[in-house]
């Protein structure tokens, strides 16, 4: 494996990073919407988002990508491959982040909401100034854990035919006939992104656990 092959892998790594950032970035507002609907006082948004989450948690990410990819083609939308897979990952992220944040919102003592209501704070003010700041803090370790899942998940874009890091590895490995070396390098590249995130997430978790044990 020469310098050119290595640079090609780095190109793939760039696309893995772009896909992850786009999906996570778009997943934050949509996941927040899912979480708020899931904890709404009206039953319909709750039921709808419960179903949405159940579907995404009960099916393989690969199938979600396939269905979104071909559904977009059927709908006549002329999207580029990376836009289609990015949309698939965003929908996936919105469901998982929505479920994580629902858990954190429900973990807050109910008295917080009651106190905010007693102070006659409206829904928006209550959510933005009382609930979310606390819920976000609780949810941080799980959110970072999901980000690691998402970075690893972007490798499935390779099966749909998009050239990110995993597919770049496949291409280089069939050119050089050194699959073990190439996949080891690809694995190290993923590890270099994911491990620091995992480490940070675990450290936060321990810190919060220690704080709540006091």
């Amino acid at each position: 494996m020469g310098k050119n092959e290595f640079l090609f892998l780095l190109q793939g790594l760039k696309w893995t990073a772009i896909l992850s950032v786009v999906a996570f970035g778009a997943g934050i507002p949509s996941g927040l919407a899912v979480a708020l609907a899931r904890t709404s006082e009206w039953p319909w948004p709750r039921r709808l988002t419960a179903g949405y989450i159940a579907v995404f948690q009960g099916t393989p990410l690969l199938m979600q990508l396939f269905v979104v990819y071909y559904a977009l083609a059927l709908a006549g939308l002329d999207l580029e491959a990376w836009e289609a897979v990015a949309l698939g990952f965003t929908l996936h992220a919105s469901a998982f982040l929505g479920e994580i944040w629902r858990g954190s919102i429900e973990a807050l003592p109910w008295g917080q909401v009651e106190a905010a209501k007693a102070l006659s704070l409206g829904y928006l003010a209550r959510t933005a100034t009382v609930i979310l700041p606390q819920a976000i803090r609780i949810s941080l370790p799980a959110t970072i854990g999901f980000l690691v899942q998402l970075v690893k998940g972007t490798s499935l874009a390779a099966i749909v035919g998009f050239t990110e890091l995993a597919r770049a590895g496949g291409i280089v490995s069939s050119q050089t006939f050194k699959p073990l070396l190439v996949y080891a390098v690809v694995g190290i590249m993923y590890f270099a992104i994911c491990w620091p995130l995992s480490f940070y997430g675990t450290r936060l978790e321990h810190r919060f656990a220690a704080a709540s044990a006091r």
Binding site: V55, G58, T59, P60, L61, L62, M63, Q64, F66, V67, Y70, A71, A73, L74, G76, V148, K152, G153, S155, L156, A158, I159, A166, G169, G170, S173, P179, L180, Y183, A184, V186, G187, Y190, F191, C194, W195, S198
Partner: protein, 222 residues
């Protein structure tokens, strides 16, 4: 743009899809059994007196948890022939699934073992229970009860992960779907149906795992 949905190729191939579901379940079950064996072995080594062994387990867990399964399965796929082991895609996929699930199982099982305190075991012995009874009633069952929910959701996750085994052409639902798609070009119809089948599979499995917990791990014991 107008598109006519045509599910006839999917309906014609439905028996094949059901066989694919069985293939998926087989992969998931075999992978889970291997994962639990690796998990238990890993916990024993993880807490052994010999430091290099402990380090080895920690590295294994971190590497598996921080790299994609797709890369792992390709690595196993190409590494096995390299060390002189020739296997079909399906057993190869089972090994990869077992290694992947095993890394997560080590963490889960270790948490369960640590939840049993020395004092509980001593209490059991003081009550005159025989060593095997102490192990079964005081160590194993409460530990299982503690880790069962995490282990069960890990099992569901493993079942969904089997779809990635289609990348090395192991026999399971997604590979069957790909074959039908290649013959019919009805991509959306095929994958939509298969997604519903996966949803049914994971739902069934969830009910089954919950039923097992209710039957064998209910607490307090009647």
């Amino acid at each position: 743009m107008h598109y006519e949905f045509d599910f006839t190729p999917v309906i014609d191939a439905f028996p094949d899809l059901l066989w694919g579901c069985l293939g998926t379940l087989r992969l998931a079950l075999a992978g889970m059994v291997l994962a639990i064996i690796i998990g238990i072995g890993g916990v024993v080594l993880r807490d052994s007196q010999f430091k290099p062994l402990r380090l080895l387990v920690i590295i294994f867990v971190e590497v598996i948890r921080n790299t994609p399964f797709l890369v792992q399965i390709y690595f196993v796929f190409f590494a096995l022939p390299f060390v002189g082991i020739k296997l079909d895609p399906t057993p190869t996929a089972i090994i990869a699934l077992g290694l992947n699930g095993g890394a997560y199982a080590i963490e889960i099982i270790r948490g369960g073992v640590q939840s049993i305190t020395r004092g509980q075991i001593e209490t059991g012995m003081a009550l005159g229970l025989r060593p095997l009874q102490v192990f079964r009633l005081i160590v194993l069952k409460p530990a299982l009860r503690a880790i069962y929910p995490s282990l069960a959701s890990q099992f569901i996750l493993l079942t969904l992960t089997t779809s990635i085994a289609s990348a090395v052409a192991a026999y399971e639902l997604t590979s069957v779907a790909k074959l039908i798609e290649n013959e019919s070009f009805r991509s959306f119809e095929v994958y939509f149906t298969v997604t519903l089948l996966y949803l049914a599979l994971s739902w069934l499995m969830m009910r089954l795992l919950a039923a097992i917990a209710a039957r064998y791990l209910a607490y307090p014991v009647k």
